[in-house]
Symmetry: C2
């Protein structure tokens, strides 16, 4: 399990910016399960964070000083400037997301939650990889998380029956009372296999999996013909020292002519505007609700990351570093 012992705080002077740069003050860090993978020295969709480097993360920042025509003092921007109080950048793409001004029409934190990587992951994963059809039964794991909750609500908008798996009564109640899910299963208290079977009498058409482990194996036993299993993550396994066993029931994919497919949201960069437009519309219409879990203080960054893996966070995990001027 990642812990604060894996990180070190260092104080350095803020350098002068040159003629093509700007100085940013970070206001918020965004937290995502995928950050755990960046700490492993393995080939992945991005290089690992090296020992001694600033921990990579999405950020919301304010421009303090700028020599770049497109950015002026006071602008609020999103980017990927990592766990530090200040950052100097040329404002070009880099890291997880492009550096861009956050429009004044949206709450800055929403640019990291519903309109950020987590919301966009839900959008493309569910719609493009999952291909939900009206009347389908959709099951979402990690359903109260920043991605799962949006994925489930989009499935409802598309006319599906949606069942969410989450940990604890509070999260499960939120899913059915606020987020429009048809049912929720508390994996901490329910018999997952039995309850899921009861709640899916007609089988499962789309599995949106953020969790892996036992959930995926159980879901595989209930899939329908031509089911789609969207592999979004496997948070239950990210901190394991040894490779976790894979889904034992994967041969259900043969019997049911089904597919299990992974994706990386960064492949959809050119369609982000389309997705943000749809998500904004649904938020305005009250069809999508979202939660943000905002901790405070840069010294709490490592502990805030851990919250993702212990299920403590409720909604998009953010950490507030500073107030905007």
């Amino acid at each position: 399990m990642v812990s604060k012992e894996n990180f070190k705080f260092e104080e350095l002077e803020v350098e002068e910016i040159n003629e093509n740069q700007m100085l940013l003050k970070n206001l918020y860090f965004g937290f995502d399960p995928t950050q755990r993978g960046w700490l492993n020295d393995v080939k992945s969709y991005m290089p690992p964070v090296q020992i001694g480097e600033v921990m990579r993360s999405s950020t919301i920042s304010q421009v303090i000083e700028s020599n770049i025509p497109d950015f002026k003092e006071g602008d609020i921007v999103q980017g990927s400037f990592g766990w530090q109080e200040f950052a100097i950048t040329d404002g070009k793409a880099g890291g997880v997301i492009n550096t861009s001004k956050i429009p004044s029409t949206i709450t800055p934190t929403a640019s990291l939650s519903v309109y950020g990587i987590t919301g966009l992951t839900a959008y493309f994963g569910l719609l493009d990889v999952g291909g939900p059809k009206e009347g389908d039964t959709v099951v979402v794991s990690g359903a109260a998380g920043a991605t799962g909750s949006i994925a489930g609500q989009i499935a409802k908008i598309k006319g599906c029956r949606v069942i969410g798996i989450a940990g604890g009564t509070k999260k499960c109640n939120w899913l059915t009372e606020e987020a429009n899910f048809d049912a929720a299963i508390d994996y901490k208290s329910a018999n997952l296999g039995q309850t899921l079977r009861e709640l899916c009498p007609n089988g499962i058409d789309v599995v949106f999996d953020n969790v892996g482990g036992e959930f995926l194996d159980v879901a595989l036993t209930l899939i329908n013909m031509n089911a789609r299993i969207v592999l979004c993550g496997a948070i239950s396994t990210y901190n394991n020292e040894k490779p976790s066993p894979g889904p034992s029931n994967y041969m259900s994919l043969v019997i049911m002519r089904a597919r299990m497919e992974g994706f990386i949201v960064l492949d959809y960069l050119d369609r982000f505007p389309e997705a943000i437009k749809s998500l904004s519309k649904w938020v305005e219409e009250g069809k999508i609700t979202y939660l943000e879990d905002i901790q405070e203080g840069i010294e709490n960054a490592p502990d805030t990351l851990v919250r993702l893996f212990t299920g403590q966070n409720f909604g998009k995990q953010l950490l507030k570093i500073a107030e905007a001027d």
Copy 2:
């Protein structure tokens, strides 16, 4: 492991046929790994064979007596009449494949091998599910088997680089010398992971998996972006008493935006003629070669089934029951 203790020989009188029936004498039984699954009492793409029923299998038979206008005495037909010397049928569809006359232009046994379910499985699995493109690296497990060998040769026809995994020098030599594979790995003597890595310096684009187990897990570590893993079977696990662990490295599907997909050849029934036409052309042009492993004697049916799971068979496993008149 299935064994002859699971079967019982019974002698019964052959009954009279009625006005819509014909009497067949079985000449050959066809053997397929999927028969093992039919012996488990689980929900699958076909109901299990019940205790006391004739063991289901594909067959080549000769018409002995017929009251059906479309079939006359002496015709050679393929069907699914199971492990018995004689069968009475109305000649309509049933079981694994439709009852149909074998054209005089093809060797009868070829109707169960290259033009049978195994060849058709290779055709649709590779082309429809695998989607090979010119220049792709394709890896086939169970490559000397009746399906794998055809799948690999079709991939070669499509301009791919093809590596086969098989057990023993004899099978591996056949793959590279007769079946046009670019390379073969003897899983009994080679370090599978290391050798596969060396033979696939540019990664793997299509995995055609008949075997499951260690092979699938290793292959997952070498897949390229947008790779396709065709799940055709998992013969290494069919006789296990406990569920086998799934592929531990399945999260490579996320990193590589790849998919793992199952299929059942019976879904392509209406396209069988197209496939048989293509396969015939390739056989005539010498682009596809195939082997048949023909054992003899109905009393050897159970042992012949076991040959599939011990890797003894070399080519399509058949059992000759009787001579045609």
